[in-house]
């Protein structure tokens, strides 16, 4: 294999892939990136066996060929090089040399046969989605995904594509986000999958400058195709919980508050909350919302008040401040509406201003208050 490439292009391509390469692995070949040259197109592939990503770079090809190259070392040298041409040469024994005007670098590759083959999907119908909109949907759901290996089905985002909508749902069992977007090109797909966090993070990193994503789903895999880059992910096996059932229908207390004001009050008050539970108490009464915390162990205490659009019975409800802040951070309207029932039921948070074709709902379960 032999080709010439500009440092800038190969650096960008490797940077897109490096995120999938496992840092620690019991399968050493996975620490490599597969280089595959055909004509003037170099395809780079990385995988951790769950998620794979391939990207293509234009090069000046001389001899076709394939080799697996240690990802970390290769990434570090192209990162440190200035933008000059690089010539890459690989001999029959998988010895690689990089030649530049600065000098040469040698390293040992592995045979391409050891690199796992990515199973291409069967030909499934795909749907084209707007990259920006999808990126924002990912950003607003990923934070709520569970990192708890005991509940693997919550370790990804549930994605469902139907005739005229895409919905993403994420939950860790304490909070939940549901986003339904109807701005997409309609198709006749009707598919759903739990897509692992890592695949969506990679996708998000690779979306810069992209306009469209072609999305394909089969029972086992979800594939995202961007210009020149393909992300191929195994779906998380198992049943996503019945999220519709836990979205309350009979919450009757609606409170509208300024998102920034609430968020900054919660941040300050939570400094004085218990360091394990981060418990704060919201006390809502006519026209105002009080945010309080108390740490019995260390004697800390804090209380703030903000204006709220509310009239009705007063209600006290406890939340984990970090969870509430997460939710407020991932909404972008100026005001938010909290729709509550009582101190032990899920509260709903809506953005006050809606975007065309996008419905967002966030749920948060309370912390049981000490005085019940």
């Amino acid at each position: 294999m032999k080709f010439k490439v500009n440092r800038k292009e190969i650096h960008q391509a490797v940077q897109n892939i490096i995120g999938v390469v496992p840092v620690k692995t019991t399968i050493p070949i996975l620490a490599n990136i597969l280089f595959d040259l055909q004509g003037n197109v170099l395809t780079l592939t990385g995988t951790d066996l769950e998620v794979s990503i391939s990207t293509q770079v234009d090069v000046q090809g001389e001899h076709d060929g394939s080799v697996a190259i240690p990802a970390k070392m290769f990434f570090e040298i192209v990162r440190e090089l200035p933008n000059i041409p690089i010539e890459l040469l690989c001999d029959d024994e998988n010895k690689i040399s990089l030649n530049t005007e600065k000098g040469f670098y040698r390293l040992s590759g592995e045979t391409k046969d050891d690199f796992p083959r990515i199973k291409k999907t069967e030909d499934h119908e795909s749907v084209t989605v707007d990259a920006n909109q999808f990126d924002s949907m990912i950003a607003k759901t990923l934070f709520a995904v569970s990192s708890d290996e005991l509940r693997t089905t919550l370790m990804g985002v549930f994605a469902k594509i139907t005739a005229n909508q895409i919905r993403l749902v994420a939950t860790d069992g304490h909070r939940l986000v549901k986003i339904v977007n109807t701005n997409f090109v309609s198709s006749n797909l009707d598919r759903e999958a739990i897509v692992p966090t890592k695949a969506l993070n990679l996708l998000s990193k690779n979306l810069q400058g992209c306009e469209k994503i072609d999305l394909t789903m089969s029972d086992e895999h979800t594939v995202f195709e961007l210009a020149g880059t393909t992300i191929f992910s195994k779906n998380i096996e198992g049943q996503f919980p019945n999220y519709e059932r836990v979205i309350p229908q009979d919450n009757d207390k609606s409170v509208i508050v300024n998102r920034e004001l609430l968020s900054s009050s919660v941040k300050r008050v939570s400094i004085f909350s218990n360091s394990i539970t981060h418990q704060i108490r919201l006390s809502i009464s006519d026209g105002q919302l009080a945010i309080q915390s108390e740490d019995i162990e260390f004697g800390g205490e804090a209380r703030e008040k903000i204006d709220a659009d509310y009239s009705g019975d007063s209600i006290d409800i406890g939340y984990n401040a970090l969870y509430l802040l997460d939710i407020l951070k991932h909404l972008d309207s100026e005001e938010v509406e909290l729709v509550l029932k009582d101190s032990s039921s899920a509260g709903i948070v809506y953005p006050q201003a809606k975007k065309e074709g996008e419905d967002i709902l966030m749920l948060l379960m309370p912390i049981r208050l000490n005085d019940e």
Binding site: T171, V246, I276, N320, I367
Partner: protein, 396 residues
């Protein structure tokens, strides 16, 4: 305001339970502990009956020594689940007198009845009443010390064992202590005792006569503590058990174990018993810790922390076993394993879950086992996976 503190100590608890359940043991020396194996056994005496104490047997004595002193004694292995069953009943009786109950081991507890004693006619009446209740409901005896602080209450409960009741009145602290031997004081171990005896100090009263400066010079910081105790001063509060930081159980094997499958089986049993205690006491925890001691006595702990507060048998077992498996191939035999849960929360301050209603089958099974055991006793039902030879177990 003077406080009213009770120290309740069950008399020869494990041995008394054995004598209660086995009428033929009554009036005989009963030694609960590891198997003496004709004098060659390892391990120690956990408790022994008062009849056995006449032979010079006491807790923590090597079982081989005990066997030498009393070869005809009745040696029994501990039935921990039965003891914790009765201990749980004791706790609930104590809880009826005050919410400030600090259980310090399976068979003893401190109570602060300062606020509640007037409901019962005073601290002495509380002590009499709870001794009566324990006797009527558990058919066991307890010794109780009543005093203005924990230190004095604990000494008092020990003075007239078994079935004792000793009251130390406010203002009589020094008088109560003055003729007691110095070894009764907390923090007086062999070395301090020797040092005190070398200075001609034998009784607590003699310490009280020394000046603080003198004691500080001779014993450093410790001197100050000695002086305070000799005056009967102790202001530590009774901390109700919510203040507890962790809950754990561990097992020392009779023989060191090389087979990882056997270790895992024991972990399952520990997880089940620990999680049952947690559910009984309504605590959940976020951090699960595995403790392992190898045959060369090196001790390791590994832990994992979760977002959720956990009390499920299945999860605790799963995590403990996966932590155990991270040790890989066992290069040494295992001497002891234990599971601990920390970062505890009581049901107050608990993060509620969206899917709590959809309790998994395992939770339902645990709940069912719990209710059967509540009704028919700890030994009534068990998991088939746990069928094996008993090993000794200690709860902390």
């Amino acid at each position: 305001m003077p406080r009213a503190i009770l120290h309740v100590d069950m008399d020869a608890f494990f041995a008394a339970v054995e004598q209660l359940d086995n009428p033929s043991y009554r009036g005989k020396p009963v030694i609960v502990g590891s198997d003496p194996k004709g004098g060659a056994g390892r391990g120690v005496v956990a408790t022994c009956s008062y009849e056995a104490r006449k032979y010079g047997i006491h807790s923590a004595l090597p079982i081989s020594q005990a066997y030498k002193r009393c070869p005809h004694g009745i040696y029994v292995r501990g039935r921990h689940s039965r003891y914790s069953e009765l201990s749980g009943k004791m706790t609930s009786i104590l809880g009826e007198f005050t919410p400030l109950v600090q259980k310090i081991s399976i068979d003893e507890a401190f109570l602060d009845v300062t606020a509640s004693m007037h409901l019962f006619g005073g601290a002495l009446e509380v002590a009499k009443l709870l001794k009566l209740r324990i006797h009527q409901e558990l058919h066991l005896t307890a010794s109780v010390g009543v005093a203005p602080n924990k230190f004095l209450a604990k000494i008092a409960s020990d003075l007239k064992k078994p079935d004792g009741l000793v009251v130390v009145k406010e203002g009589k602290e020094k008088e109560f202590l003055k003729d007691l031997h110095i070894s009764r004081l907390w923090g007086v171990g062999k070395k301090t005792e020797e040092a005190l005896l070398n200075r001609g100090i034998e009784k607590v009263g003699q310490i009280a006569e020394r000046s603080q400066v003198e004691l500080n010079r001779d014993f450093g910081k410790h001197g100050n503590a000695l002086w305070r105790l000799s005056q009967g001063l102790d202001d530590r509060p009774v901390e109700a058990n919510e203040g507890r930081k962790s809950i754990s159980q561990e097992t020392t094997f009779d023989e060191d174990i090389a087979d990882p499958e056997k270790v895992e089986k024991v972990l399952f049993r520990l997880a089940e018993s620990l999680s049952r205690t947690m559910r009984q006491e309504k605590v959940k925890g976020r951090t699960i810790t595995l403790k392992i001691r190898f045959e060369d006595f090196t001790t390791h702990t590994r832990s994992r922390t979760f977002a959720d507060f956990i009390d499920s048998t299945q999860i605790i077992k799963g995590v403990a076993i996966s932590l155990f498996r991270r040790f890989g191939e066992l290069e040494q035999k295992v001497r002891l394993v234990g599971i601990g849960v920390s970062q505890l929360s009581c049901s107050v301050g608990e993060q509620l879950g969206l899917f709590d209603q959809e309790a998994p089958l395992n939770t339902k099974l645990s709940n069912l086992l719990d209710s059967l055991r509540d009704k028919f006793g700890e030994g009534a039902v068990g998991r088939a996976a746990m069928l094996e030879k008993r090993t000794t177990k200690r709860s902390e």
